[in-house]
């Protein structure tokens, strides 16, 4: 198990963003669904060790990230793509990816090949030395994905990774996810329900800080056969579960 979360909560002032979440994830692609404000981003941030939990137990890659040493070890093996990732306009694609490879303390000798691999994997080989300010939104998103995967992470956290990608790029991205999920735990937080269904082996649905569903995409689809609304099977399961949770 790469991720073991038990009764995790996170509070900001009076707002309980995450109100008691328990999850386990091993290798594979894990989808995190839910409406805006459900707490997905906060949960992802805690898994990325960006913010500490208020209460509860968090174990990442068999380590407790509460202390500095293990947290650093986790971060070396981590890949994170935040929902809003800014960029340094004067950097090139390769420089940006390399910068974060160095900050993840990758051995310097391995960095050039790792950067080249990551850039080609997100299909930006023709733009490696282009300045970031010349790229479109979708390309910038792919640059973000490249920095997340450059160190071949064991735990990869992606927050809305397909924002700005056209359908063809999304297909390519899902193939990348499946490939990465063979060895690593990939957690994808997304609005796009059908995105999830195609690539994920496990799905969790969050609402108002809690997990209201945890199972396979097939099981989620099954929940939608009677009551869900929506055009596609997963969407129906999604709405059915949400309706039941709020009832």
């Amino acid at each position: 198990m790469n991720v073991e979360i038990t009764d995790l909560t996170r509070r900001f002032g009076r707002n309980q963003a995450v109100a008691g979440v328990s999850l386990q994830a091993g290798p594979g692609v894990f989808g995190l669904l839910g409406p805006n404000g459900a707490g997905k981003t906060t949960l992802l941030r805690m898994m990325a060790t960006v913010i500490p939990p208020t209460t509860g137990r968090l174990r990442l890659l068999d380590r407790d990230p509460a202390t500095y040493g293990p947290r650093r070890e986790v971060r070396r093996r981590l890949g994170y793509l935040p929902q809003n990732l800014g960029y340094y306009p004067g950097f090139t694609v390769a420089e940006f990816v390399e910068y974060f490879a160095l900050l993840k303390e990758m051995p310097a000798a391995r960095v050039p090949a790792a950067v080249a691999t990551a850039v080609e994997r997100v299909d930006l080989g023709g733009k490696a030395k282009a300045k970031l300010r010349t790229l479109s939104g979708g390309m910038l998103r792919r640059v973000g994905i490249a920095q997340a995967i450059v160190n071949e992470p064991e735990l990869l956290l992606l927050d809305e990774p397909t924002a700005g990608l056209d359908p063809e790029q999304r297909v390519h991205f899902r193939a990348l996810l499946r490939e990465l999920g063979q060895r690593a735990t990939v957690v994808v937080s997304t609005h796009l329900v059908e995105d999830v269904g195609a690539a994920c082996t496990q799905v969790a649905l969050m609402d108002q800080g809690r997990v209201v569903f945890d199972g396979t995409p097939g099981e989620l689809t099954a929940r939608g056969t009677e009551q869900g609304t929506g055009d596609a099977p997963l969407e129906r399961g999604y709405t059915a579960v949400l309706a039941a949770a709020r009832a």
């Binding site: 080989g125 023709g126 733009k127 490696a128 030395k129």
Partner: protein, 186 residues
């Protein structure tokens, strides 16, 4: 964008041009190298070839012979890699020959070198024209099959004088073709 323009852009430091060049030429270079080298060596040679092309593109004279230029670099890199293997003992050559699937040369010369030379020759002969064309036929009959001029003239249905002049042209063309990789900066 034709090959000469690509190489010019590579010389100017454009890495996307190198990428395009790689996409166009690496496959056939790999095929030709694979005929004489094991796969791991082919990969090494290709890597060194394109890095050398990246560094040395300024020395390329645009004459539409980009493929020949790249093959020349590849050939040299292959020779370097083979030479780096160490001193050539007869046992070593036999071992290498077995590994490459080639018969060892009778005088102990490096079989891979012979194979590379053979590959070079095939390329040069191909410049004479498609199979069945007059020059190729003269080459095949006179030099591969070692027939006398009179016999070749009869087989082709042309006067011996024509055969002799074609043979002369064939030799000239082959000399030129075999020399092209040697030109430029190497």
């Amino acid at each position: 964008m034709d090959d000469d323009d690509l190489v010019a852009r590579v010389a100017a430091g454009d890495d996307t041009a190198l990428r395009e060049l790689f996409g166009r030429h690496a496959p056939w270079l790999a095929v030709r190298l694979r005929a004489v080298l094991p796969a791991a060596d082919v990969e090494d040679v290709l890597q060194e070839t394109f890095l050398a092309a990246w560094r040395g593109a300024r020395g390329y004279r645009p004459q539409g012979a980009c493929g020949g230029w790249l093959w020349g670099i590849a050939r040299r890199q292959a020779a370097l890699i083979l030479r780096r293997r160490g001193p050539f003992t007869p046992a070593g050559q036999a071992g290498a020959a077995l590994a490459a699937g080639l018969p060892a040369g009778p005088d102990g010369s490096d079989p891979a070198d012979i194979a590379l030379a053979r590959a070079d020759l095939e390329v040069a002969v191909a410049t004479l024209g498609p199979e069945g064309s007059p020059d190729r036929e003269v080459w095949r009959l006179m030099y591969e099959q070692d027939r006398p001029v009179a016999e070749v003239a009869e087989l082709l249905g042309v006067p011996p004088g024509t055969v002799k002049s074609r043979a002369h042209r064939v030799r000239r063309l082959l000399r030129a073709a075999l020399r092209v990789p040697e030109g430029g900066m190497w």
